[in-house]
Structure formats: structure tokens, C-alpha cells
Symmetry: C2
Subunit: 322 residues, 2 copies
């Protein structure tokens, strides 16, 4: 199963989203801004979130005039968070290229992120749909609040599964959920379908983030276009480490690592231990549990090509290696 | 003339804006976020922008249910820009208190600013008025693009009046203009009145920023709650310096100052020269020219207490010392 086959029912329209992203990059006549926007937005990522908007809209009134700006907005916003997050995390590489703050400095990264935020809001408002607009703005607030909470909690070796799930719900699942829910809203789906697609997106997003966090332990740096082991180095403890630590109830091995903040060797040794433990496999099982929930949420919806794609997307997300 | 007397026709409703700001600070249940929001939003500033929203709405259908969230949004957004700007400029003090990045760090300032951005968008969307929402999101984009341009142009001693006016138009006048225009839109004013109030806000904002830039040269640090001379130290050349330099056509005295970036003594000497020159007075004349334009824009509007307040506000802005 390839991502291209999953996107098949919306492939043509995803091309239109790309065109819309291009147009967004050119909307302001200040050359440095256009350059930065193209650097960040063009040709990057798998476009899973805009695909979700489109696929979720395929069950009722599929109205491209509203869906294209919505899908563009979600992708633009997602990239705004990446630009700001990279700056906060001091991550130097993104999608195989230097991150914005690395090459242009933190102030430019801050201002570019702000422009992307504003632009995403403008795109959503341009759908003319107030419910989708409000859903989007509330989601941004939830994500920002969650990010602040995550930042305040770095180097906290007492973090448990509940903290983790709460955090990835706002960090990642909220935007996935808003992508699919907004597709449903804009296609004038009945409330049960809106709810089903909201739940699908949320559970899918949970699984997506868990896999992301697994890949930070076991991923191939070249294929992913970014270094691995970053989370722990930055003081962020994710599911693989949490599960691993739970098997040492009396003696948390992360405490010693975090007490030597930034010691690469200590972190590397801990990562090796997690990698060779049962924890990675257990993370995969938990992720599969979330995608199973996601697929169950779809049961209510009519059968069609988009339905099959959404089911396949759930499998793809657990199996992905980048 | 005091600001209280100018605000008289809307004083009661400004109190409601304060309550709405308080409610915004409490909306998220994460204690650190609530603390930060109150630190930044409560009891700070003269609330000129929300006052503009309310005064501009006093000519037609004055609908508080929409005006309060709109006025709150404009103030919340304004504070988002202050939090991010202080971080970029490394300004340590704001309204007599340590700036957010100073006490909590740059990452917190970035995330808090993002939350404020998102929250302002949500407040505007909650008016249910798409035209006002779109006006607001376009304005944020314009401001962010302008800020990026300003940042890219620091330490440019060739900056001229035209560059300066263009910059303050997006930096300050755009939000003033959107404040008064949105008040007009939400009160269902006829198009001519919307245009008149948009123009009033823009010209007022131009004057406001020129005075701000004068005060950075001649202001009383204690009364203003922030140090003076900051613009030049940060490499930003504003109208007083531009006018002063224009009188040295062959030999730009700022070149030498900017070549020694950050040299406090050199900057201080240059500031003294500007302060004792004709330039400050000329800046005042130019600011008065803008407020005269602002007042002319109002001619179209019916006479009432708000009309008089808007005229007085124009005078107040040129005469203000903080």
C-alpha cells in the first residue's frame, strides 16, 4: 500500500491544494517573505492533513471552492507550528534542509511563523464558513496551550502515560481531528457524520504521533530528513521511554540522564536501552489500538472510495517508516 | 483634555471590554498560561484600540454583543505583537515591568504570543461577522509582513521618509484602521462611513506611531515605563533621525554610528544631536498633519458625542507624553 494509492480518490484535488499553497506563497509582494514561504511550504511533507480534509468531505456535498482553502489553511498552519517548534527546540534540520531559524535566525523564524499563522486564519475565514473558522481558531488555541505545557514540562522524568496522551492529543491529534471534522462540516455532513470524522481524525492523530515518537528512537535519519534521538536530548520524554521506565518502578533510569542535561552519550546509552527493550513493540501495539478505534469511528459512514482510503490511511500510518 | 473625558461616551462599555479580557485570561485551565495572560493583558496600556472600535460603532447600530469581542480581539492581538516584538528587540521592560521573554524566556514568549494570536482570531470569529473576521486576518498578515520587512532593514542608514511611512503604515496604522473600520462594519454603517472611519483610524495610527518614535528620543523613561533610545540601539531608524540626516545630504552622520553596532555612547551622542535639532519639532508638525487628515475624514459622519471624542482623541494623541 502506497500513499499515492490511498490518495487516489483526491489526487487531482491535492494538486489544486499545491497550486493554492503556491498562490499563498506569492500573495505578498515582499521578496524575502515569498522566498521564505516557498522554502517552508513547497514540496515538503506528505500532505496528510490536507488529504484528510478532502477525504472526509467525500461523503456528502463535496465543494472544492471551500475545501481547497480549508486544506491549504491546515497545511499552512501545520508549517507555522514546525517553524516555531524548530526554533524552540533548536532543531537544525527539517525535511533534509536547514531549519528556518538556523539559516535566517530566530527573529525571522518567529515573524515567518506569525505570518503563516495569520495566513492560515485568513484562508479558513475565506471559506465563508463560521463554524469551520471557529473550530480552527479554537484548535490553534488548544495547540498553543498544549505546546506551552509541554515546554514547561521538559526534563520532567516523572511524566506518565496519562500526561503523554493528554499532550499528544493537543499537540497532534487536535489538528488531525480538525482536518477531518472541517471536511465534514464544509460538506454539510449530518451531525453523526461530523462526529464520526472528528473521532476518526483524533484517533488517527494519536497513532500518528506515537509512531513519530517511536521513529525518534528507531528511525532512519537519512530517510526522515532529520536526526533521531532529538526528543530526549531536548528533555522531552515520549511513550517509548515512559513504557521502558515503568518496568523500573523503584529506580527511574532517566533521572540520572536528565540530571546531566544535554549529555549526548548518556542520552545515547538510554536510547539504546529503550530501543532494545519491549517498549518499542508495545508502542506499536498502542498505536494500532488507536487506529483500530479510528476505523471503528468510520463504521457509521457510507461505503465509497474515500472510506476505503481512510481505512488504508490508518494502516499506512502505523506502518510508515518516515 | 484627559483620556477619561474622551472615553466618556463608551466608558461603561470599556469596563465590559476589561471584563472580557479577564474572561479571556481565565478561559484555559492551565495555570501558567492564565498567569502569563494576566501578566500581559490586565491593567496595561491606555486601551486606545478597543476604544476606537467602540467609538467608531457609535454612529449606527451599536451592538455590544459583537463589539465587545471585537474590541477584546484587537487588544489581545496588539499585546501578542508586543510580546513577540519585545523578544525580537531584546527589550527588557514593558509598561514598567520585565518583558515576558526576560522573566520566562524566549520560548515561553513565543508560545504565549502564538496563543494570543490564536485567541484574537477566535474572538473575532465569535462576532459571527465574516467581513470583520477577514479584515482582521488580512491585517495580521500585513502587520507580520511589515515586521519582517522592518527586521530585515535594521541598521540600514539609507532609510528614507517613504520607507518609514510605509513601515509605520503596516506596523501601527493598519491595526488602528482595522479597529475603527471593524467598529463601523459591525454597526452596519453605510460604505461611505466605513471608508471614513477606516481612513480616520489609519491617519490617527500614523500620527500615533510618529509620536511614539518622537518619545523614544525625548520621552520620560519613568512615565513611559520603558527606556528611551531603544530604536536606534536596536538599529531601527525612525522619523526624527531621518529628518535630521536629511539636513546632512553629503555626509550621513548615522553611518558611523551604525558601523559600531550597539555602541551605547555613540548612539547616545547621536540621540542628543537629534534631540537638540529642528527634527523633533518637524516630526510634531508631520504628526499634526496626519491627525488633521484623520479629523477631515470624519466630516462625512453625523455629529454626536463619539464624533467629538474622535476629534479630541486626535489632539490627545499628538499631545501625549507617555
Amino acid at each position: 500500500m502506497t500513499i499515492a494509492s490511498i490518495y487516489e480518490p483526491i489526487q487531482e484535488d491535492l494538486t489544486k491544494v499545491e497550486e493554492s499553497i503556491k498562490a499563498f506563497c506569492m500573495a505578498d509582494n515582499y521578496p524575502l517573505l515569498a522566498e521564505l514561504l516557498r522554502y517552508v511550504l513547497e514540496g515538503g511533507g506528505k500532505r496528510i492533513r490536507p488529504a484528510l480534509v478532502l477525504l472526509a468531505a467525500k461523503f456528502y456535498r463535496y465543494d472544492l471552492e471551500k475545501l481547497i482553502p480549508m486544506a491549504t489553511a491546515i497545511e499552512v498552519f501545520h508549517n507555522a507550528t514546525l517553524v516555531h517548534d524548530d526554533s524552540i527546540d533548536k532543531s537544525l534540520v527539517r525535511r533534509g534542509k536547514p531549519s528556518v531559524h538556523k539559516d535566517w535566525g530566530e527573529s525571522v523564524a518567529l515573524l515567518l511563523g506569525d505570518y503563516l499563522f495569520a495566513g492560515s486564519g485568513d484562508l479558513v475565514a475565506s471559506t465563508g464558513n463560521l463554524r469551520a473558522t471557529r473550530l480552527f481558531t479554537r484548535t490553534i488555541m488548544e495547540i498553543c496551550s498544549g505546546q506551552l505545557k509541554e515546554f514547561a514540562g521538559i526534563y520532567d522524568w516523572t511524566r506518565n502515560q496519562q500526561d503523554y496522551f493528554e499532550q499528544i492529543k493537543s499537540k497532534t491529534a487536535a489538528l488531525f481531528s480538525t482536518a477531518s471534522e472541517s471536511g465534514a462540516i464544509l460538506s454539510e455532513a449530518p451531525e453523526e457524520a461530523v462526529e464520526a470524522l472528528r473521532n476518526y481524525g483524533r484517533e488517527l492523530g494519536m497513532a500518528f504521533q506515537i509512531i513519530d515518537d517511536i521513529l525518534d528512537y528507531i528511525g532512519d535519519e537519512k530517510k526522515m530528513g532529520k536526526p533521531t534521538g532529538c526528543d530526549l536530548l531536548q528533555g522531552t520524554i515520549t511513550l517509548p521511554a515512559i513504557l521502558f521506565i515503568e518496568s523500573y518502578p523503584g529506580d527511574n533510569p532517566l533521572k540520572a540522564v536528565f540530571e546531566k542535561k544535554g549529555d549526548r552519550e548518556e542520552v545515547q546509552r538510554f536510547i539504546e536501552m529503550v530501543r532494545n527493550s519491549f517498549a518499542v513493540q508495545e508502542c506499536y501495539s498502542i498505536a494500532a489500538g488507536f487506529t483500530a478505534q479510528a476505523c471503528r469511528a468510520l463504521e457509521w459512514l457510507p461505503e465509497n472510495a474515500a472510506h476505503r482510503s481512510l481505512l488504508d490511511l490508518a494502516d499506512y500510518i502505523v506502518e510508515r517508516r518516515t
